[in-house]
């Protein structure tokens, strides 16, 4: 454990732990939409955040090993990750809108059938 832990590290670690426990419980309970892919992604992303929040010095070791060198490069790298995360979220929102459109189209298509059955 590092000698000094800041409040920010504690908050970040607690959030990561919360998401890890939540993801794990959802998977164990076999809740809707849970898959091996999702649990592995959760463990990887939030697990890394938890580890790096407790041991921030590890980022320097990784930066050197990955050849990122200076901290500015690391920031740029993180920036790209954030942009990809936002892009992913936007695609997710578009997908939900598409589903809503399909549901409206479906209901309109099936309306006549329901009316005909009511008439009978």
């Amino acid at each position: 454990m590092p000698e000094k832990i800041s409040i920010l590290q504690i908050i970040l670690g607690a959030i990561a732990l919360l998401f890890l426990i939540n993801g794990f419980l959802k998977f164990v309970r076999n809740e809707k939409g849970q898959t091996y892919f999702k649990i592995l992604a959760t463990l990887f992303i939030w697990g890394n955040i938890l580890v790096f929040s407790i041991f921030p010095d590890l980022t320097h070791i990784f930066s050197r090993k990955l050849g990122l060198g200076e901290n500015l490069n690391t920031l740029i790298f993180i920036g790209f990750v954030v942009i990809f995360a936002i892009l992913f979220k936007l695609l997710n929102i578009i997908e939900k809108l598409e589903r809503n459109i399909s549901e409206i189209v479906r209901r309109q298509a099936l309306n006549n059938l329901k009316d005909k059955l009511k008439e009978k």
């Binding site: 076999n30 809707k32 939409g33 898959t35 091996y36 892919f37 999702k38 992913f88 695609l91 997710n92 997908e95 598409e98 589903r99 459109i101 399909s102 189209v105 479906r106 309109q108 298509a109 099936l110 006549n112 059938l113 329901k114 059955l117």
Partner: protein
């Protein structure tokens, strides 16, 4: 429940299949299935007219929403019509409706879902399609956690229990893989049966068939929909 007692519906999603839809319907009728639902998925040709003239139940999507959305509309319609078994088939004539009889027997013997598999017979399937199918199966297993030999087949049969439990969200080709996820999630009893496929010049030259670009799109959507 015997085969005669159960209400069996065949749901066919169709997009710009005006050239062939009447022949597909006639072929299905010739093997003894009369309850046919065609879902015209926003076609710009005569699909709706031709299917209506063939004397089947036809629904029209005002705009194109994709194969998955159209199949779901068909299944919802079958539920309203109190179907006991729903069979889904492609509209391009590649499936042999005679294979449906074995699927129905399996549903009657206690299976919830019967998946038609092109790879167990493999006959008449181009090699690039076989390879694409294996990739589809791999990603379906990776993302949804269940291995099947043909995750992209559109020829499937569902029991009443299955149509009420399966709750799909995706609209396009990823729908076929999402069904596999739903089988696993709902712990449905399923079996795969070999089916005959007949790739005609018509079906191979279709503009909107699954290809590499669409395959990648399907994969991305499978990940996003998780």
């Amino acid at each position: 429940m015997t085969q005669q007692d159960s209400k069996i519906y065949i749901a066919i999603p169709a997009f710009n299949e005006g050239e062939i839809i009447d022949k597909v319907i006639s072929k299905i009728k010739s093997v003894g299935f009369d309850n046919i639902i065609v879902i015209d998925d926003g076609s710009s040709d005569e699909t709706f007219l031709k299917a209506s003239e063939a004397g089947v139940v036809v629904f029209k999507h005002l705009i194109n929403r994709g194969k998955g959305a159209a199949v779901k509309t068909g299944i919802e319609a079958a539920k309203i019509l109190s179907a006991d078994i729903v069979i889904t088939m492609d509209a391009d004539g590649q499936h042999n409706p005679a294979d449906a009889e074995r699927m129905i027997d399996l549903i009657h013997s206690g299976y919830d879902v019967v998946l038609g598999t092109r790879l167990k017979k493999g006959k008449g399937m181009p090699s690039y399609k076989i390879l694409a199918n294996y990739l589809g199966n791999f990603f379906t297993w990776l993302i949804y956690g269940l291995w099947v030999s043909d995750s992209q087949s559109g020829f499937r049969a569902y029991s009443k229990k299955a149509i009420y439990l399966i709750d799909t969200k995706t609209d396009r080709y990823e729908y076929d893989s999402e069904i596999i996820k739903e089988i696993k999630r709902n712990k449905l009893k399923f079996v795969e049966v070999p089916i005959e496929v007949h790739y005609t010049e018509y079906s191979m030259n279709k503009k909107h068939k699954q290809n590499l670009k669409n395959g990648l799109k399907t994969l991305i959507k499978m990940i996003i929909s998780e």
